[in-house]
């Protein structure tokens, strides 16, 4: 190793990135790539004047991406009179777009809420990103109010598809994955323009345009059973802001409109757990309606008949669907298929099994 490279090894990645940001903010007209590689700390130590700097150039390309990922507006300015000439592109970071807008301020109460919002994410990229956002907020020097005691809400993003989907969404990249649709036994490949990822009724959904059907579809992330891959070269035009809210309103409208009426065995798992379900319209819960020891029908909202049918079938004899008929039939046929699949040939289901509700 030459002494130049040894000298460079003492410049850490963050020092190089920090120096690059400082240099690009300080310049009004922008710096050319040659300016940057030959003068900025962390590059200049490895720069060979008049030599081959290909690996250094690739380093700069990666650094640019990393800096942009942090929300820093790194601009490329084309030189007048020399369009398309790579060598004369200039790079800069406009200060006005870099800084938090001066008129945006946060109160101590707001900061407390934001802190709590940041802790909602316990793992994965959303956790790292909310922590970085908090670091930026701390720069404002505001002390937050005391946090709410005895309170620790969290969201998990266990579905492996979450990260590749949200990245593809930000980049306008078409994706493909194997999807096991609720109610079906085999998975099928879907090719989708991802438009929003939303959590509704405790489940993560992908809202997107199915390219084969040329229509908007909603997918459960838990039912994406293979890796999410980007379709090479397939990009789509972003659909603009508000996709997430649009997806949520559609799901909420569906959820509000669909009501199942079920009877649950008093005191059973089904009665205790289903009686806690959210009620439409946010009206205060009727204490009798949520009393699991009373034998009265429960009204359950749902967005997907097959998802609810799966769940209700799991309760076996604890739940009886009254309406709608389609749900009643779906649950009954699930129970029949499970019974038959677990009945060994020549041996019929035990007759007294019908009464063994809680064996």
């Amino acid at each position: 190793m030459s002494s130049t490279i040894e000298k460079n090894s003492r410049v850490s990645v963050e020092e190089r990135l920090f120096s690059l940001v400082l240099a690009l903010i300080a310049t009004e007209i922008g710096l050319t790539k040659a300016d940057i590689l030959s003068t900025v700390q962390g590059y200049r130590q490895r720069y060979l004047p008049g030599g081959d700097n290909a690996s250094l150039e690739r380093q700069f390309e990666r650094d640019k991406d990393d800096i942009r990922e942090l929300g820093i507006p790194l601009e490329v300015v084309e030189q007048q009179g020399e369009p398309g000439s790579n060598h004369h592109l200039r790079y800069r970071i406009p200060k006005g777009l870099y800084e938090l807008p001066a008129d945006v301020t946060f109160t101590p109460d707001e900061l407390m809420l934001l802190k709590l919002a940041a802790t909602v994410w316990r793992e994965g990229s959303l956790s790292a990103e909310s922590q970085r956002a908090m670091t930026k907020l701390h720069a404002l020097g505001i002390d937050s109010s005391d946090p709410v005691l005895g309170y620790s809400p969290s969201l998990r993003v266990r579905e492996a598809s979450f990260e590749p989907l949200s990245k593809a969404m930000d980049r306008g990249q078409v994706v493909a994955f194997l999807y096991l649709k609720p109610g079906e036994a085999a998975a099928h490949r879907r090719q989708v323009e991802p438009r929003a990822v939303v959590l509704h009724d405790g489940r993560w959904h992908l809202f997107g345009t199915d390219q084969d059907a040329a229509a908007t579809r909603t997918y459960l992330l838990s039912r994406i059973v293979g890796p999410v891959v980007s379709v090479p070269g397939a990009l789509f035009v972003e659909h603009g802001v508000g996709q997430g809210q649009e997806a949520l309103s559609e799901l909420e409208a569906l959820w509000t409109a669909n009501i199942a009426v079920v009877s649950a065995e008093p005191g059973s798992d089904a009665a205790v757990r289903l009686s806690k379900r959210r009620v439409a319209g946010e009206r205060p819960a009727d204490p009798d309606a949520s009393n699991p020891h009373l034998h009265q029908p429960l009204h359950l909202h749902y967005t997907d008949l097959n998802v609810l049918a799966d769940e209700l079938a799991g309760y076996g004899p604890e739940v009886l669907v009254r309406s709608p008929d389609s749900l009643r039939a779906a649950v009954r046929s699930r129970l029949i298929s499970v019974r038959d699949a677990h009945t060994d040939s020549g041996v019929s289901a035990h007759p007294q099994a019908a009464t063994g509700a809680d064996s």
Partner: protein, 331 residues
């Protein structure tokens, strides 16, 4: 430089860019105060200050001369552990949020706004608008809504705040009812599920309860007992048990991810595109619900006892429909 494990260069860079404007607003501040404000270790603060103090811009001469660099009062820093910035370069304000950073906080706020404690929807909406304006690009489309068990959450939260015991009827995971009296410590949620950590007076031990398994929940006027230091909450809500049972199931290869919670491991057999996996389950009470909830996808093959439990459970369910629908008997 050692800034602790798991910190990427991006996180370190963000800290440097946030620390500079903060130090500008504080003429003189101790390393301890900075570390408390940003919730990072004092060593990480010192590392960052050491780096900032020798950083700057190439300048006219392109030589990083003294006037083109940040500077600090070195004596104060080295002797008193106090930071005094004496020369500034290029930046003087905090960077904007990235689209994804803003989205992460907005989605977190949406989740909070669905909870009873944060009913001030207007305040949250204002805050979301501020975050959107403070991002360098439109926040990514990640959105969150709704939660169950609101009334139970409110009761438990009030009891935590008032320091009183609560009482409820609890249906445990094996399907048994018991009356419990608990010192509530903390409510935790994981996605749509809510849990209470507290001291169970029946078991005389720290316990986790699911809110959706409680009924007849009410606060008492009995104050909670002082909490000893050794009852710290474990990060992990759930622990495996030695009494877990092994069950072999058969399912399509593509459906294996649906059972990820049960740590499926390989097992011989299976025909066509179906594979066999062995699952650890705590009891058949839960297994029969799991398998019946995945009708047409998962089949139990072994042991025979587990097959029979699942069959009887489903058959009992079918029987209820046959009772109420006598003309449509059989299949």
């Amino acid at each position: 430089m050692n800034a602790g494990p798991g910190l990427g260069a991006s996180d370190k860079l963000t800290f440097l860019l946030a620390l500079v404007p903060f130090l500008m607003d504080h003429d003189r501040i101790s390393v301890t105060d900075v570390s408390e404000h940003f919730r990072v270790s004092p060593d990480r603060v010192r590392d960052a200050v050491n780096l900032i103090a020798v950083s700057g811009i190439p300048g006219e001469t392109r030589q990083y001369l003294h006037g083109d660099l940040f500077d600090i009062h070195w004596d104060e820093f080295e002797t008193n552990d106090v930071i005094v910035l004496t020369h500034l370069v290029a930046i003087d304000d905090s960077p904007r949020f990235s689209a994804r950073e803003a989205a992460a906080l907005i989605a977190g706020l949406q989740y909070l706004s669905s909870l009873p404690e944060n009913a001030d929807v207007d305040a949250i909406a204002t805050l979301m608008a501020k975050l959107t304006r403070s991002a360098s690009a439109a926040p990514s489309q990640v959105a969150v809504s709704g939660t169950d068990a609101r009334s139970s959450i409110a009761v438990v939260q009030a009891a935590v705040r008032d320091g009183v015991q609560i009482e409820f009827d609890y249906l445990n995971a094996r399907g048994e009812h018991e009356s419990r009296r608990v010192d509530p410590w903390r409510i935790q949620s994981v996605d749509r599920d809510w849990y209470l950590r507290g001291w169970c007076h029946l078991r005389e031990a720290a316990r986790t309860f699911r809110l959706d398994r409680m009924s007849d929940l009410h606060a008492t006027d009995v104050p909670t007992s002082p909490r000893s230091a050794d009852t710290l909450l474990p990060e992990n809500l759930f622990e495996g048990s030695a009494s877990d049972l092994d069950v072999t199931v058969e399912l399509p290869t593509s459906a294996v991810p649906l059972l990820a919670d049960y740590a499926p491991h390989g097992s011989a057999g299976g025909k066509g595109d179906r594979v066999r996996r062995t699952l650890r389950v705590a009891h058949f009470h839960g297994l029969k619900r799991l398998v019946t909830g995945l009708a047409g996808v998962v089949e139990v093959v072994d042991p025979a006892e587990a097959r029979a439990v699942v069959r009887d459970w489903a058959a009992a369910g079918v029987a209820r429909y046959d009772e109420t629908e006598p003309t449509v008997g059989g299949e």
